[in-house]
């Protein structure tokens, strides 16, 4: 395998990862694809800042993340038409579909700063060190946001699933 083919294949995997991440965060197919395209455009312009031999995925996610921030400012992203899990994907288990929907809806209620670490770790399987770099926050901040976000998610899901069992502040 040549160096170039290897790089193209890695990049292809990373672009798929960028798309997954953008899709879960935006729940809007077109917006997610726009973000990926703008990220790639920025990456081409900023190719000089990538140091060969370093983590291409972290570099790309940093650009995507930056794109996401500026896109939000520009467009005031609307969530009016949030995607829902596809019918056919979970039709074998109707409760699974409800749970997926609930967890995505709960995620939507969290602040952006907490949603990102949660999705990076869950969807992309990044290590804390990688994800903190990709999000450009100190490890302690990353940790704190992940923990607070997951706890908030749990409380929202608790309320969704068993509203009469407990009152959690």
């Amino acid at each position: 395998m040549t160096l170039e083919t290897d790089l193209a294949e890695r990049l292809h995997d990373h672009v798929a990862g960028l798309r997954r991440y953008a899709l879960v965060l935006t729940r809007n197919r077109d917006l997610a694809e726009d973000l990926v395209q703008e990220c790639l455009t920025k990456a081409i312009a900023a190719a000089d800042t990538w140091k060969p031999g370093t983590d291409l995925r972290v570099w790309l996610f940093r650009i995507l993340h930056n794109t996401h921030v500026s896109e939000q400012r520009k467009r005031h992203v609307r969530r009016t038409a949030a995607l829902t899990p596809a019918d056919e994907a979970v039709e074998s288990d109707p409760t699974a579909r409800v749970e997926l929907q609930q967890v995505l809806d709960a995620l939507d209620q969290l602040p952006e700063a907490q949603r990102r670490p949660i999705v990076m770790v869950a969807v992309e399987g990044m290590s804390y060190a990688e994800a903190a770099k990709a999000l450009d926050v100190p490890l302690g901040t990353f940790y704190s946001r992940l923990g607070r976000g997951r706890e908030a998610l749990r409380r929202i899901m608790d309320g969704t699933e068993r509203p009469r069992l407990r009152l959690v502040v």
Binding site: L3, E33, T49, H65, A129, E151, R154
Partner: protein, 275 residues
């Protein structure tokens, strides 16, 4: 992991780290022991694990985007561009000689201790004033940062100019470089052994970043005439002007740095004081 947030339940951070495979064997065993005897913690852990699994699964179930030829084209172009960089000579980039992992490690260390210092550039360069080494370090750690390069964005920089001036001990004006195609991204202030320095970060349309660092010129020290040096493989131009020392760090060639310095010197003479 040293930087833990305050948490009413000190055990909670370990639950997440355990769930994500971030703990060593001893710490993981401690979590398992605690989970075995603490049903409330075990219930929370199960919930975190379940939600993590659901989110991972949700990706497969959200309807995927239709394959876009534009995305494929951009991906191909980026692959070719990066491949050229990978095969380019090592000195093609001013930072190429600086091992990036060391940079990242330095940045991570700075994040962990929350302090900026010579760690960013290794040993201070004795051939340049200390503030110039600090300026290069600040540029390498923050100006290359895509997401949060600045403490104060361009809009709020105007509001904090007076505060920056107080910190620096002299009126400081954050100049506009729009005429040179460089827009202000924002500013930061750093504490250094030599006193506070203000870093203003600019960006052109291509995303190239430039740092302008300002420090108080030591009272007894002679004025510095414009000089251009390589510090830690990074090009920096520096000079003093009245009570302030300046440093410009950029990937641009020496002539461009000199042009920026001239521009700033002229601007400084025609519009003294804070602004």
């Amino acid at each position: 992991m040293t930087a833990r947030p305050e948490d009413p339940d000190d055990f909670t951070p370990d639950l997440h780290a355990y769930l994500d495979g971030e703990l060593g064997p001893d710490a993981a065993a401690a979590v398992e022991a605690r989970l075995a005897e603490d049903p409330e913690a075990a219930a929370r852990f199960d919930a975190y694990a379940q939600h993590k699994a659901l989110l991972a699964e949700s990706v497969n179930d959200l309807p995927p985007a239709a394959t876009s030829p534009d995305t494929a084209r951009l991906e191909g172009e980026l692959a070719r561009t990066l491949a050229r960089r990978e095969s380019a000579p090592a000195r093609s980039h001013p930072f190429a000689m600086a091992p990036w992992p060391a940079n990242l490690a330095a940045a991570a260390a700075l994040m962990a201790v929350g302090w900026f210092g010579h760690a960013a550039t290794g040993k201070p360069d004795r051939n340049v004033p200390a503030y110039v080494s600090e300026a290069v370090g600040a540029h390498r750690v923050f100006a290359e940062d895509f997401i949060r390069p600045a403490e104060f964005d361009a809009g709020s920089t105007r509001d904090v100019a007076a505060w920056l001036s107080t910190k620096l001990g002299h009126a400081v004006r954050i100049p506009r470089l729009d005429g040179m195609g460089m827009a202000l991204v924002g500013t930061r202030i750093h504490g250094t052994k030599e006193g506070p320095i203000v870093q203003a970060i600019y960006e052109n349309k291509a995303g190239d970043r430039l740092s302008l660092t300002m420090a108080r010129h030591p009272d007894a020290a002679p004025a510095i005439v414009f000089k251009s040096r390589n510090v830690a493989d990074t090009r920096v131009g520096y000079w003093s002007q009245g009570p302030l020392d300046y440093a410009v760090v950029t990937d641009e060639p020496q002539e461009a740095i000199r042009a920026i310095a001239s521009e700033l010197q002229i601007a400084g003479k025609s519009r003294p004081g804070a602004g």
